[in-house]
Structures are given as structure tokens and as C-alpha cells.
């Protein structure tokens, strides 16, 4: 590794992909805030003019990163950078100016700057540094603690700044840990937990319990190599659970249990029967049965904690956004307004879209935040299904290309850093686009390279180009 870079080693595919996205973003910001009074795309009184300045400055930064800064310095300086950014994250809580209820911006004269954006870079670098150390073992207590600490400190600070959306991006680092040795069961369990959360809120806790029973019953059957018996017992249990609500209709029983929620009745049935099955399996010394049972208990606990978490941990607007997404509460003028207008804009685009500058929904300010968090609406409306799919494919290409390059690289530091970058991009893209089309609750984070804003464009550019620079040093 050294200060000199061989231009031939730079992955130009990624650079082209980057330029394409930045250009598309600029054009769509132009279209989103276009007014007839200010038709020039370079007019710096308008957001599209400003974005041009951000783009140019990003180019300067990227050239600087590629050709000037010594690639070695990143791993060496990662600790200092990390500590510095953490300090900023901490200070902004007290010194930051309040924007939309969150205190995450430093205002330096006309320029605002969000440490949370930069912390993605610093955390990625420092995480890569720690995990690439020769002595590091993820499965050791030391390894678990240090990785957890590196990730949780900035995450907590960001939550304190009330930037929950940015904090959520940190969940993406789980993919990095997965690649570096964490068992996939954690990821699966995470997905399962989200599923249970949704089912519990949108349908009912009882349905969640039935799903858990079914899933773990069958898995128990597989582990016991006695699928038929376990399936039969499981199905019997599920039928009993499904019939539980009927008890309330029986006169003399219903009166006595009227104050008891049905999911507690379900507990009375599944806990004894699961313990019975556990003991049976333990006697046969079945492999992994304790782990399975623990997961089972965790799942059941999760179901019962959903209500508490939802009512006491989440803030009212977050609750409203989730309720809106799950269709529990439709409030098209309030919490649901953004998403509804955004879906209208995207939906009205049809297959081919309305054409550049022809969008009626985004241009006439029906969609709020149309040049920042909801920039995807403009694409959906003006470029239609074709354009939207193209953008998604571009991101999928970008992310998987980073993964492939990272995986191919011999340096552990570069590989881990590449995974960090890919995870960050993935979280941003999935949450942002998902939010505009109503598959993810409204979480205000920008779409990489497309959303308006210097802070986010710079940090994504830096994130990507550090990787490009590191990657260009092919295993020397």
C-alpha cells in the first residue's frame, strides 16, 4: 500500500455508476423544484444550483481521496477520526441547532453539517481497523465486546440526538458481522422478530403465538427426527389456540375470563406442553434443542413485549408512522400524508412516466421534502416504472459490485470496510425507497447520491471513494 495509485486499478464501473447516480439526482432535483422564474439549472438561489456546487465539490473531494491522501492513513488514523466524530456526536446534543425536532446539526454560518452523516465513515473505518487486527476473534468475549462498543456508542448518541433514522442504519453493520463469522441465525432471528412485530401489531398477539408454535414445533420435529409426531402435536396445539377466542362466547366461562387477554390463556396452554416436549427431547439427548427452546422463549417474550415497546418506547410520531404503514390507523392528512402523496405521485407515473419536468404531483409541491428524502417520487412520477426499476437496479449493481470487489480483496481491512460501505448504502436505499412506496414506515434518511444536500452527498462520496482508493491497491 502506498501513496501512489495506479489509475488502471481503479474500478471505473463503480465510478461510472456513481457519476450516473449523481447526475440523475441533480436532474431530478431540478425537476422537483423547477420554477419558470428560475429556469437555469446553475441558478444557485435554487436547490438545483446549490446541488451543482455540492456535486462539483464532491468531485474535488473524490479526486483528493483518490490521488492525494495516502491510503495507509485510514487504518492508522481510524481511531483518532472515530474519537473525534464521537466527540462531535456528543457535542451536537448540546450545541446543535434544532431542525424538525432533532438536534443533530451544527450550524456554521450558512453551512450546516450533520455529524451523524460522517459517523458512518468513521465507524466503518474503525470497525474495519479493529476487526482486521491479527489477534481479533469475533467469537471471543473480547471480540464481541469491542465490536459492540464501537457500534453502540455512536448509535446511542445519535438516538439521543433524536435521529432515530440514522441510528437504524447502524443495524446494517450486522451484515458485516455476519460476513466475518457471526452465525446467520442472528440475521434470521432478526427477520423473524420483525415479522412477529408486524403480525402482533397488525393482526393480533395470538396469531403471532400460533406462528411461533407452528415454526418451532416443526423445527423440534426435525431435530428429533420425528416430524410426523411433532407436526401432529403442533397442529393440534394450533387448533386449540385458534379456538381459544371462542371460550369468551361460552356463557359461564366467558364471564370468569373476561378480564384476561386471550394471549395469556394461550400461555397456559403452550408453556406446559412445550416443557413436556423439551423434557422428552432432553431425555433423547437431541442436538441443539436447548438453543431452539431458548429461541422459542425469546420469541414468545418478544410477542408480549411488542405492546410495551410500541406504547412506551416509541415516540408518538413514530407510532403513528408505523400504524399508518400497517393500516391500523389511516390518517391521510396527518401522519399518512407524506406517504399517501408520495404513493400518488409514484403511482401516477405509470409504466413510462410523465416525462422530464412533466410531473404534476412533485412539481406542484404536493409531496413534501420532494428534493431530499422524497426525491424518489420525482423519479417514479416522471420516469415511471421503467425509470424506478432502472434506479433500483443501479443501486443493486452498485452494492453487489462493492461486495464482490471487497470479497475479492486480500486485505482484511479493505474487505471489512467494503462490507461496511455496502451495508450503509443498502440500509439507506432500502429504507428510503421502501418508505416512499409504503413498505417501510417513514424514516427520514436520504437516498445516497440522489437526495439534495451537501452533507449527505459529501459523506456518501467520501465513503465510496475511500473504498475505491483502498481497493485500487490490489493486494500489495
Amino acid at each position: 500500500m502506498g501513496s501512489k495509485i495506479d489509475i488502471r486499478n481503479i474500478d471505473w464501473l463503480l465510478v461510472v455508476c456513481y457519476l450516473l447516480l449523481v447526475f440523475i439526482g441533480w436532474m431530478n432535483i431540478y425537476s422537483a423544484v423547477y420554477t419558470e422564474e428560475n429556469p437555469s439549472i446553475f441558478d444557485t438561489t435554487q436547490r438545483y444550483g446549490m446541488q451543482f456546487i455540492w456535486i462539483v465539490s464532491s468531485m474535488v473531494i473524490s479526486i483528493f481521496i483518490l490521488f492525494v491522501i495516502n491510503a495507509r492513513s485510514y487504518s492508522v488514523l481510524s481511531f483518532i477520526i472515530y474519537m473525534f466524530v464521537t466527540l462531535l456526536l456528543f457535542l451536537v446534543i448540546f450545541l446543535g441547532k434544532e431542525v424538525n425536532g432533532s438536534k443533530s446539526w451544527f450550524a456554521l454560518g450558512p453551512i450546516s453539517f450533520q455529524p451523524a452523516e460522517v459517523s458512518k465513515i468513521s465507524t466503518s473505518l474503525f470497525l474495519s481497523y479493529i476487526m482486521s487486527k491479527f489477534s481479533f476473534k469475533l467469537k471471543s468475549l473480547n471480540g464481541v465486546l469491542s465490536t459492540a462498543l464501537v457500534l453502540v456508542i455512536p448509535m446511542l448518541l445519535i438516538i439521543l440526538e433524536k435521529e432515530t433514522g440514522s441510528a437504524l442504519v447502524y443495524c446494517g453493520f450486522l451484515f458485516v458481522l455476519y460476513r466475518e463469522g457471526m452465525t446467520g441465525a442472528f440475521l434470521l432471528f432478526g427477520i423473524f422478530a420483525i415479522l412477529l412485530f408486524v403480525v402482533t401489531l397488525a393482526i393480533s398477539p395470538l396469531v403471532s403465538i400460533i406462528i411461533i408454535t407452528l415454526l418451532f414445533g416443526v423445527m423440534g420435529g426435525i431435530l428429533n427426527r420425528n416430524l410426523i409426531f411433532y407436526s401432529a402435536v403442533t397442529i393440534l396445539l394450533c387448533v386449540i389456540l385458534a379456538l381459544l377466542p371462542q371460550l369468551y362466547n361460552i356463557h359461564f366461562i366467558g364471564e370468569n375470563i373476561a378480564n384476561l387477554d386471550v394471549e395469556y390463556l394461550a400461555l397456559i396452554i403452550i408453556i406446559p406442553s412445550s416443557i413436556f416436549l423439551l423434557i422428552k427431547s432432553l431425555k433423547r439427548r437431541v442436538q441443539n434443542i436447548k438453543f431452539l427452546y431458548l429461541s422459542f422463549l425469546c420469541s414468545v417474550f418478544l410477542v408480549f413485549s411488542v405492546e410495551f415497546f410500541f406504547q412506551n418506547v416509541l415516540q408518538p410520531h413514530q407510532k403513528a408512522r408505523i400504524e399508518n404503514l400497517l393500516g391500523i390507523q389511516e390518517d391521510l392528512k396527518g401522519a399518512g400524508y407524506n406517504v399517501h402523496q408520495s404513493k400518488i405521485a409514484i403511482g401516477s407515473g405509470g409504466f413510462f412516466g410523465k416525462g422530464f419536468l412533466e410531473g404534476t404531483q412533485t412539481k406542484y409541491n404536493f409531496v413534501p421534502e420532494q428534493s431530499t428524502d422524497f426525491i424518489f417520487c420525482t423519479i417514479g412520477e416522471e420516469w415511471g416504472f421503467m425509470g424506478s426499476v432502472f434506479i433500483i437496479m443501479l443501486y443493486v449493481f452498485l452494492i453487489s459490485r462493492i461486495l464482490i470487489l471487497a470479497e475479492r480483496h486480500k486485505e482484511k481491512f479493505v474487505r471489512i470496510y467494503g462490507y461496511c460501505v455496502a451495508s450503509c448504502f443498502f440500509m439507506h436505499v432500502f429504507i428510503n425507497i421502501g418508505m416512499t412506496i409504503g413498505v417501510v414506515p417513514v424514516i427520514g434518511i436520504p437516498l445516497p447520491f440522489l437526495s439534495y444536500g451537501g452533507s449527505s452527498l459529501w459523506s456518501f462520496t467520501i465513503l465510496l471513494f475511500i473504498f475505491l482508493r483502498l481497493e485500487a491497491d490490489k493486494g500489495r
Binding site: 460476513r179 407515473g349 409504466f351 416504472f385 424506478s388
Partner: protein, 614 residues
């Protein structure tokens, strides 16, 4: 599979989920496309011209004229010469300034909306405004049509249109605030034909309601469809003439064509001045507080005692019941004594048969007839015979709504036997207790329309068509019931004697005792019957019904004047002048015409003047 590939597969799956949702939103789901249209397009209504109301000879009775609404977009108003502006429209400067101040106060709420500033500006005022419009930024004019009335007649008949109120809007969803809707009369009953279909122009707008441009150069704009015309049965000239005759008189004229039931004229006097009708909002208070109640359509709403005219009905019922032989003569000694009382009559030869009793309108004669009807041994008791009589009266249309296409028709009154049972005790009454019914007094309430219908029924010798105001035309099918003959319960054979009496009443030489001989017109063969109905409030009411000519009648008419005195003095001349006008087109009795037109019976009408509010 290594972990990198698992992650890439996961990434592809997530990408696919997003694409599936996009496919759902952008291609499968139609709802969002429709909502987008509502969001971004501003639909500016194009108002249709309301359908015309024509008379039976295709003269325009109710037409349209272009007026303008002056609109204001407060957000775009800049300083302007208020004085000049007010001069154009004859406005009070202080008022306008106050209004502008209010807009400023509510500017956040109003935003970029355009609202109506002045309504119903005439095209003359508009042209002055249009010339100077550049000096008044934020003001604009949109054309509306309002009603015009080429004939100065028929205001009560046509009814008026006004902006739909909240209650109406709640009932009918196709109307929007600011739309005009028929409130009374024909405008109300034929709203569905007259209103037409609104169109719209589409403009693009933004979330602040600012209009940007016409959408697709008007390609998708929809033109307004004008309302359909309706042809009324009214004869415009006759209607106008009738209203002229009724100047300074309180009462009604109803003229029918007996062979169809079509209403030729329907005058309620005093009516609303046609000039005020087009801009009713402005005059509404004034009309409402007028002591003569011009909004009240007497012709179809006012229940009057019919007076002697009703003798025709009793005579016919007597004939049908077989208790009256046309040649039977009854004596009259200036009245009909019963108990220690007497129902008075005027001086005339005595005794009289049926025909002459009609000609001279003998009261006593009909007391005998009515007593015979109610004392008929055929019936068990007074209640039964009375109810039978009542049923026959009702077959002439009395005591119920005739079922015209006119919205405000009332049924009048015709008591049942239970009414008298309540007063006198069950069956403890007899014919003499209700003897005033024999001469059309007492508890009877008939509208002038009922009486005109009676004239038409006799003209047709036993049947009538339900009177109606609108003719069938290509736009408009009328209810088939208007084409059905409505027979009374009296056989058609009995009518000729009555007709004979009515002919004599008009066409007998003066001095013969005929009640309306002064109203005869040579060659027209008018058959008529006078009535002088007692009015508890002042002078008697003057009543006359007639039809002409005697054979194959073309017109049947009823005239009812409040507090005017003898039927022969006012009602009969008016009715026969109308007949003359309708049948010949000219008036031979100019002196009579002048006397009637100049005459004022209104001064006899006692009115309770209301203290004007405020």
C-alpha cells in the same frame, strides 16, 4: 453457498420486493392515478344556459340573459382606485373597503382562491368594467346566465331560481355551492330538464391552488350542455291580458282548455313583478313583507267558499241521485225558511225549474235539492247520505289535490261526516244543519283551479282532464295521467240541462232575471254561472265560472276576486273579456274593458300590515 453470495441473494430479494411494490403502485393500481388528477387539476365550471320556458305558441316566456359575476382573487389584488371601481357597479365605497379589509384579515385561509365579489352584474356594467379591467388587478368576471322575461306575465307561475342553499346541497350531490336551482313554480317542478349539464375547463394547479396553465390546451375540457326547453300550456298573450285585467285586484284567474286540461292562464293577483323575479335575492325581503303576499299563489293555494257556482254541483248530484226532476219547480219567497230561520235570496220570478234556477241563481231551489239529497230514504242515516254526497263532490275534484304538475297546489277543504258528528253529536244532525253547503257556503274551501276545473267538466259534459302546465314535447314526456279522461260520478246525460241554464244565465236578454246577461258577447255562446260568496272579512267575493262556446268548448275559466262584491259586477266581465280575447283575439266591449282595468277592488281588501323588521 458462501456468505457473500447469500448477502447478494438477499439484496436481490429486497430489490425484487421494491420492484413488486412499484409494479403494484404504478401499473396495477388505478386509485393513485385518479387521486393524482384530483390533486393537480383545477376544474373550472362552465355553467350551462338554463332551458327556456315557452308558451303554447312557442313565444319565450322565460329566457336567459347574460350577466356576469365579478370575481376577486385577494392574493393578487394590488392598490387600485376604489372610487372608480365603485362608480362602475354603483357600490358603496365604505362597503367595498370593509370587504377588502376582511379579505386581508383572512388571507391565510383564502390563499390563492378566487371568490365571488359581486353577483349578477349586467352586461352594460360589465363592458365598462372590461374596458378598465387592467386597472383592477385581482378582479375578473365570469359569465353566468340569469333569467329574463320577455312577457310581463306569469311571475308566480314560473317561480324563481336562486343559489342552492345548504339543505339543498346536502340532498342532491350533483349541485355545488353557487349553482342556481329552481325554488318555486315551474322552475322547481322542471328543474331536472331546465338545469342542463355543467361542463368544465381543466387547469393545472399547485398545492397552493395557484393556477398554472390550461391542461393540454383544453383538449379534455368539457362543454356545458344547455338545459332543455319546456313548452308550457300557457298562452302568453292571454296570461298577460289576464294580469292586466287583474291590476289592483286581489284574486285569481284560471283558464283551461277543456278538451285537454291544459292551463291557458293562471293569474294570482297581486303577483311578483317580473322585473324583481330575476334578481329575487335583492327584493326578497320586500316581497316577503308585502301585506298582499305576492308569493302566495292564490290560484292553486287559496281555499275560498265557491258560493253560488257550487249550485251546479248540487244540481247535478240531485239529478244523478234521482231526487231532482228537471221540470220540478220549487217556490222561493225571498229565501228558504227553516225552523225559525231563513236562508235569504234575491228577488226573482218564482217558482223555478232547474234550468231557470241556474239562470237566476235561486238559493231556495238548492236548499230543497240539497235537503232531498241528504234526506234520501236510500241511506240509513245522515252520515251515510252525507258521505255519499261528499264522494260525488270529490269526483269533481273538490276537497283534494287534482294532481297538477304544479308544485304548490293545495286540496282545499270538504269536511267528512265525522266532522259534523263531532260538532252535533253522532247522527244528531240533518240536512238543515248544513244547509249552507247547498249554495256553496259554510265549510267548503275550493281553489280557483278547482272552480276552473268544474267549468271544464261541465263544458265536457261530465269529465275532465287533470289540469297541467307543461305540454309534451320531444324533450319531455308528460305523465300519461294527463291524457286520461276523469269521469265524475254523475252520468254525462245529466249535464245538458245544467249547460242550458248556464247558457241562459249569460245569454238571456237583460231584465229576464239572468244573473250575467250584461256579460254576454254576441256569437260566442258563453255559458256561465255567477257567484257571490260571503267573506267574513269585509265585502263579498266575486266569483264567475264559464266556458265557451257552448258546443265544442275551447276555453273554460274561473275568476275569483276577493272583496269585490257581486259576481256579475267584476268576475263575470273579467272572465268573458278573457274568453273574448282568447276566441276572437280582439275586444268589442272597450268601455267594459276600461272600467275593469281602471277598477280597484284592492282597497276593499282588509290587510294586516306587518311592521317591517328593523
Amino acid at each position: 453457498m458462501n456468505k457473500k453470495n447469500i448477502l447478494i441473494v438477499g439484496l436481490l430479494i429486497v430489490g425484487l420486493i421494491l420492484i413488486i411494490q412499484l409494479f403494484n403502485l404504478q401499473i396495477l393500481n388505478e386509485e393513485y392515478k385518479i387521486t393524482a388528477d384530483n390533486n393537480a387539476y383545477k376544474y373550472v365550471t362552465r355553467y350551462p344556459a338554463r332551458g327556456l320556458i315557452l308558451d303554447r305558441n312557442n313565444n319565450i316566456l322565460v329566457g336567459n340573459k347574460t350577466t356576469y359575476d365579478i370575481m376577486i382573487t385577494p392574493a393578487e389584488v394590488k392598490k387600485f382606485d376604489t372610487l372608480d371601481f365603485c362608480r362602475i357597479f354603483n357600490l358603496d365605497t365604505a362597503d367595498v373597503k370593509q370587504k377588502l379589509k376582511d379579505y386581508r384579515k383572512n388571507r391565510r385561509k383564502i390563499g390563492f382562491q378566487t371568490i365571488t365579489f359581486i353577483k349578477l352584474v349586467s352586461s352594460e356594467e360589465y363592458s365598462v368594467f372590461a374596458e378598465k379591467a387592467y386597472r383592477f388587478p385581482g378582479f375578473s368576471a365570469i359569465p353566468r346566465t340569469s333569467r329574463s322575461y320577455p312577457f310581463n306575465a306569469g311571475a308566480n307561475l314560473f317561480g324563481y331560481i336562486a343559489e342552492a342553499d345548504t339543505a339543498y346541497l346536502r340532498k342532491s350531490s350533483s349541485y355545488k355551492r353557487g349553482d342556481y336551482v329552481g325554488v318555486t313554480g315551474l322552475e322547481y317542478s322542471y328543474e331536472h330538464l331546465l338545469k342542463g349539464e355543467k361542463g368544465y375547463n381543466i387547469y393545472l394547479r399547485d398545492v397552493h391552488n395557484r393556477v398554472h396553465s390550461s391542461f393540454a390546451e383544453g383538449e379534455y375540457d368539457v362543454d356545458a350542455v344547455p338545459g332543455l326547453d319546456i313548452i308550457s300550456t300557457i298562452d302568453g298573450n292571454l296570461q298577460q291580458y289576464g294580469e292586466l285585467l287583474m291590476t289592483n285586484k286581489v284574486g285569481s284567474i284560471v283558464a283551461l282548455e277543456p278538451s285537454t286540461g291544459e292551463i291557458l292562464t293562471l293569474v294570482s293577483s297581486p303577483g311578483i313583478n317580473i322585473d324583481k323575479l330575476a334578481n329575487i335575492n335583492k327584493y326578497y325581503q320586500e316581497i316577503l313583507t308585502d301585506p298582499y303576499k305576492p308569493m302566495f299563489n292564490r290560484a292553486v293555494m287559496s281555499p275560498y267558499p265557491p258560493g253560488s257556482v257550487f249550485k251546479l254541483v248540487n244540481g247535478l248530484i240531485g239529478l244523478q241521485e234521482g231526487v231532482l226532476i228537471p221540470d220540478t219547480k220549487y217556490p222561493c219567497s225571498n229565501g228558504f225558511p227553516y225552523g225559525n230561520r231563513k236562508l235569504g235570496c234575491h228577488a226573482h220570478p218564482s217558482p223555478l225549474d232547474l234550468t231557470h234556477s241556474i239562470m237566476m241563481s235561486c238559493n231556495a231551489y238548492y236548499c230543497y235539492v240539497f235537503k232531498n239529497i241528504l234526506d234520501n230514504k236510500k241511506y240509513k242515516n245522515i252520515s251515510e247520505s252525507y258521505d255519499h254526497w261528499r264522494e260525488m263532490v270529490m269526483s269533481f275534484g273538490f276537497g283534494r289535490k287534482l294532481g297538477t304538475d304544479f308544485p304548490s297546489e293545495l286540496s282545499g277543504s270538504l269536511p267528512t261526516s265525522s266532522y259534523y258528528n263531532r260538532i252535533h253529536g253522532f247522527n244528531r244532525w240533518k240536512a238543515l244543519s248544513v244547509i249552507s253547503l247547498s249554495i256553496g257556503q259554510g265549510e267548503l274551501g275550493t281553489t280557483p283551479l278547482h272552480l276552473a276545473n268544474l267549468a271544464a267538466t261541465i263544458a265536457n259534459r261530465g269529465f275532465y282532464y287533470i289540469p297541467h302546465l307543461v305540454k309534451a314535447s320531444e324533450n319531455n314526456q308528460i305523465d300519461p295521467k294527463y291524457k286520461e279522461k276523469q269521469f265524475t260520478l254523475v252520468d254525462t246525460t245529466h249535464f245538458s240541462k245544467v249547460v242550458e241554464g248556464m247558457w241562459l244565465a249569460v245569454n238571456s236578454p237583460p231584465g229576464s232575471g239572468a244573473t250575467a246577461s250584461r256579460s254576454a258577447v254576441k256569437g260566442l255562446d258563453i255559458c256561465g254561472k255567477t257567484g257571490t260568496a260571503q267573506n267574513p272579512h269585509g265585502k263579498d267575493n266575486s266569483v264567475f265560472i264559464c266556458f265557451a262556446p257552448k258546443d265544442n268548448p275551447k276555453i273554460a275559466i274561473a275568476v275569483y276576486l276577493e272583496n269585490a262584491g257581486f259576481g256579475a259586477t267584476w268576475a263575470a266581465p273579467i272572465a268573458t273579456l278573457m274568453v273574448e280575447k282568447y276566441l276572437t283575439g280582439e275586444i268589442t266591449r272597450e268601455d267594459l274593458e276600461t272600467r275593469i282595468m281602471d277598477g280597484n277592488t284592492m282597497i276593499n281588501v282588509p290587510v294586516k300590515r306587518k311592521v317591517n323588521g328593523k
